[in-house]
Symmetry: C2
Subunit: 189 residues, 2 copies
Amino acid sequence: MFRDLILKNRSYRRFYESESISGDTLKELVDLARLSPSGANRQSLKFHLSAGDMNDEIFGTLSWAGYLKDFDGPEPGERPSAYITIINDNDLGGGEVNAGIAATGILLGAAEKGLGGCMFGAVDRKKLAAYLKLPEHMEIVLVIALGRPKETVVLEDVKPDGDIKYWRDANRVHHVPKRSLEDIIYNCK
Amino acid sequence: MFRDLILKNRSYRRFYESESISGDTLKELVDLARLSPSGANRQSLKFHLSAGDMNDEIFGTLSWAGYLKDFDGPEPGERPSAYITIINDNDLGGGEVNAGIAATGILLGAAEKGLGGCMFGAVDRKKLAAYLKLPEHMEIVLVIALGRPKETVVLEDVKPDGDIKYWRDANRVHHVPKRSLEDIIYNCK
């Protein structure tokens, strides 16, 4: 069932870095994004793939897990094996909603393959744009890090204090509080 | 395979309106969005559900298929059976990428159930916000129309002239030109 794939698709931040992901696999994932909806069918997004060659540079532009004060990103050996950078061609139209659609297709496709990853909006865009030699009209929207996950992520209910910050326990299990269905359904009556 | 679900999830604009969608089904779909990633886990999105009671009002706020000059939206009898309006609580953070993620979960879940729909960014937000009695800090990001699809949508390659406008043939089959994988992969070398 699709719900199982949704549940499998957690945000992972530690990986078996030695397990590589091929360029062909990355292309298969981008093809899922290609076949997804796009506002006014403009298809303004472009995708940069790194299956190794630019991993170090891209890693250095990402801010990891802001709520974990003792975690500045994964150590060598636990870093992502690949990255897909989602870029919007502003000459073709807007891209934020479209990037969310594309990234979801990519990450659900990765989950089906036993891979996992994490979306980054907190990116040093100036630095990464220089690495990628992006022309002026092309703007980085998101970076997706990918690998075979090396951590356990569990969902739990948001407590009455309303705190939504994820946290790690002593066994390095990553806990993510989720709001209830009742809480997110808006009733205007 | 997940790719089959991606392919099944086309943007539909004509439906069997007499086939209703229950509130419970809409809640199941929103639950998929609830369990999806959210930037910094803020979960700033709220979801308004209409399984009939507000359909006419919501329909009147949507702009349908801008490229089809002879189609001003579906006729009575072919209109959506339900709507999910995605609203961002701006007090909790930003929402465009998150709305794209949420809408994708909802529409893929709908496709699995034999339903289909269409995302709308072209919404008369002022009018709809008044219908929904939204407070100042809550902003409509997207409307998703849902129903059992009554049309055939086919993908085709973008032609050399680069035209991405969808079109309808004499049999009312809806054609959607998609860019090639080579065209959307950005190579900085």
